[in-house]
Amino acid sequence: MDQQQQEHQQRRDIAANVRQRFIFTGVFLLFYSTVVALYTDAGSWLSRPYFSDHISGALWLIAGLIVLFVAMEKLFLHLRK
């Protein structure tokens, strides 16, 4: 493979890497925006308790998002190993 081909291949790899990063970021922002939805009519169904007498859907969502964000980072690192 000559230098030009090698550079061309590197740029294709970089484009793929950047695409993957933006996909992860996009998915992340989608999940993140659900917090705003809690304050709209679309999120009102999370105002009642789930799986307990007092733990509301909104609280489950916040705790779940924290865990999900860490899991997404782990997956990202795994995919790019």
Binding site: E7, F24, T25, Y32, V35, L38, S47, S56, I62
Partner: protein, 565 residues
Amino acid sequence: MSHSATTARSAATTVFAAVALLAALATSSLATAAGAVEGAVEQQPVNTTAIVMFMIFVVSTLGISYWSSKQTRSSSDFYTAGGNISGVQNGTAIAGDFMSAASFLGISGLMFAYGFDGLIFAIGAMAGWPMLLFLLAKRIRNMGSYTFTDVVSLRLQRDKIRVVGIGGTITVVVMYLIAQMVGAGKLIQLLFGLPYETAVITVGVLVIAYVTFGGMLATTWVQIIKAVLLLSGATIIAFLVLLEAGFSFDAVLAGAVANHPRGEAILNPGVLYNDPIQVATVLVSMAFGILGLPHILMRLFTVANIKEAKQSVFVASTLIGYFYLALIIIGFGTIYLLYQQPELFVDGKIIGGGNMVAIHLANAVGGDLLMGFMSAVAFATILAVVAGLTVSGAAAISHDLYAGIICKGEPDAATELRITRITTVAIGIIAIALGILFQKENVAFLAAMPMVVAASVNFPVLFMALFWAGTTTRGAIWGAVIGLIASVVLIVIGPQVWVSVLGNEQALFPYNYPALFTMPIAFAVTYLVSKADRSERAAIDRQNYHDLLIRSEYGTDQALEVAKH
């Protein structure tokens, strides 16, 4: 007049303009914000346990600083500990740097007052870390050397873009320092019965000692120790709260609902905020602000390679996530347990104000011993964060301004190190002065302000320089300047300053955290000005992107040599 002299003068003007603006705000705050503290801060009996624990922390960290001073012989050692920190150590230090007094004291205070809505700040503060890993960590680590300004100046016109970087860094650092120093003053005032000013001066002097002698190495270890102590303390408090409730979080919430004047409403959104746009402004400011915090970005350079840098972010994220999960229990635990203790309230308001509820909770579940421990930890928290900010501010002046602009990248090493240490002392003194001026403000709100500026000035410049080939120096400068002006103007005419500080009846702009609007403005201006830029320099900037692309992804040095300045 030479080009470098003109540029240096512009840098100084930018820096001093930012500081002068803040000083003006501080003065107006002093004049009109009397009574902003929630509840009286009364002198407390001397807590020997707290004093002993605090002294142990101070003596051990000063010992570390002495040891670090022996290892700190160059600017590289001072700014980045020579790049010899491991990923796990660095991640723990980042967590220690970021889990500030605003996180621990401020968010638990907001939850005590408003319940669920206080968590908006927690999820916002958590959200920046995945994006830092996905988008920026690799390219920043591969492109930079000491500061985020190094990263953008590698591609754009060095002198001019450094001025922007210095302005952004100093503005963020100064605003952040205010929040930390206010928290320190209130905490020590409550715990030791010391005058507020004495407390702030104590913090300033200790930080000057840590950073001046030990640089980033001492700062890193102070932050690691603080992170371990804070996470341990938060775990113990959360455990004891659950123990009080028979290990049922549901029972904690039931007790909180029974005690709080708002009842069931505290379990759901809507007590503090009911406007989704207002929530979005907080979330955007917090998440994207992290991506522009200079003292956090600087930590990516303290490790040996990109693998360790990525691991740093993941470790930090995991620890911070764990901390906020514990904070959910602690926050509702304050409502569950503190309302049962009428002696903590004076005229219906809790002693020391909302920022002190976590400390009261430690006393309620663990007695003097745990309160003393958590007080010492909270104090350590402030010291660690202020130390990190001081290193970052010192690097902006000595590395970016002196070495980068005035000496054109070829400074005398000994002089640079000496200037770094002098700058450290100066920043410590400024921090003390600002801490005293801003003592009446809520630390959680103050902590959000630098996030807005970081999201609207530093992040757009960094992102566009790293990801868009069309970015030019002129576009980046205009984007940053407009982003800064928009941020400051909207913060000043927003409720927190226009109403609470200046005493007007109604705010001209309805939101406290305007990054939702100012960040897109900065991006749009950068894009449009860059598109319209037909200068010779613009062609070089665009060419540099392609030349540096391989380096930014693979960390090779060959591309660096072809970049033009």
